[in-house]
Symmetry: C2
Subunit: 168 residues, 2 copies
């Protein structure tokens, strides 16, 4: 699959603090449900709950925090439950692992390719996923003779919003 023609690469792709996040989460769950049906795989209750926990915000969440959410209503799930759900969700492109934080983030376009990059705000924790064609091209050409299978590109810094509010 060719790289997306971006537009995601804009700074505006950074989720605004005041955006309608409930809609984000609802949409993500609906997309996942639809794609699972289309793919003939099961979007079970546990998988739904884990994905919902991940979409609580645009900041990465750890597996054990997800577990705490699962067990909040009295259940006594073991960590395996979460990790198995995460494996499924990653395999289907619904979530990404943020390697630099050992945590997980929802993907807003699980039906597209995942040659993407992550911008991680050190201040608010928000992560933006972008798919910059120039970066993809540069990476593809950076390693002649090396057969690329997967990429981890995570950029830490301060997001536009936090930068604007740091005149303290």
């Amino acid at each position: 699959m060719p790289p997306r023609k971006t537009g995601h690469a804009k700074a505006q792709s950074f989720p605004a603090p005041n955006h309608d996040h409930a809609a984000c989460a609802t949409d993500a769950l609906a997309r996942a449900e639809r794609l699972c049906r289309a793919r003939g795989v099961r979007f079970t209750e546990i998988r739904r709950c884990v994905l919902k926990a991940i979409w609580q915000s645009h900041a990465p969440i750890g597996a054990y925090d997800i577990l705490a959410g699962l067990n909040a209503k009295g259940a006594r799930h073991a960590p395996m439950v979460v990790y198995r759900a995460l494996e499924f969700l990653q395999a289907n492109g619904f979530v990404h692992r943020v390697a630099s934080q050992n945590a997980f983030i929802g993907c807003a376009h699980p039906d597209e390719g995942h040659d993407s990059q992550f911008l991680i705000c050190r201040k608010c924790g928000t992560v933006a996923e972008i798919a910059n064609a120039a970066v993809s091209t540069a990476l593809a050409n950076a390693a002649p003779g090396f057969a690329v299978e997967s990429r981890t590109v995570e950029i830490s810094g301060v997001c536009p919003h936090c930068k604007d509010h740091s005149h303290a």
Copy 2:
């Protein structure tokens, strides 16, 4: 510091399986010693041992494997010892953390900038560090409005050597 003018970006930068690795390790330790002296910081025995363990190969090594090496001769060091040494070695640019593997790799040019990328061979575990100017430029331009502070770029795949020998 501006990005290096590469040359590191060539596939040849991948360590050959039959290279003189003893020299790699010896050189790395000598460089570290020299730089520590120049910087007025202490290159202690523990730090030397940890760096030596990391330079046993060009594959990332986990903190507890390093610890096992430290304790091989009967010592009973605690994990903290290793993590503290790693913190020092990272701060001085002698080692890098490979986030996607929770492991550590030696740096062959600790006196230069570290706007680099890692190629990780899935088959032999070898990691090559490159500093591709096009990648750096693309990353710098990928996130307008985002104040970049650090980058994690790790590319997994199959190295040239393993690819050549997979006609089985």
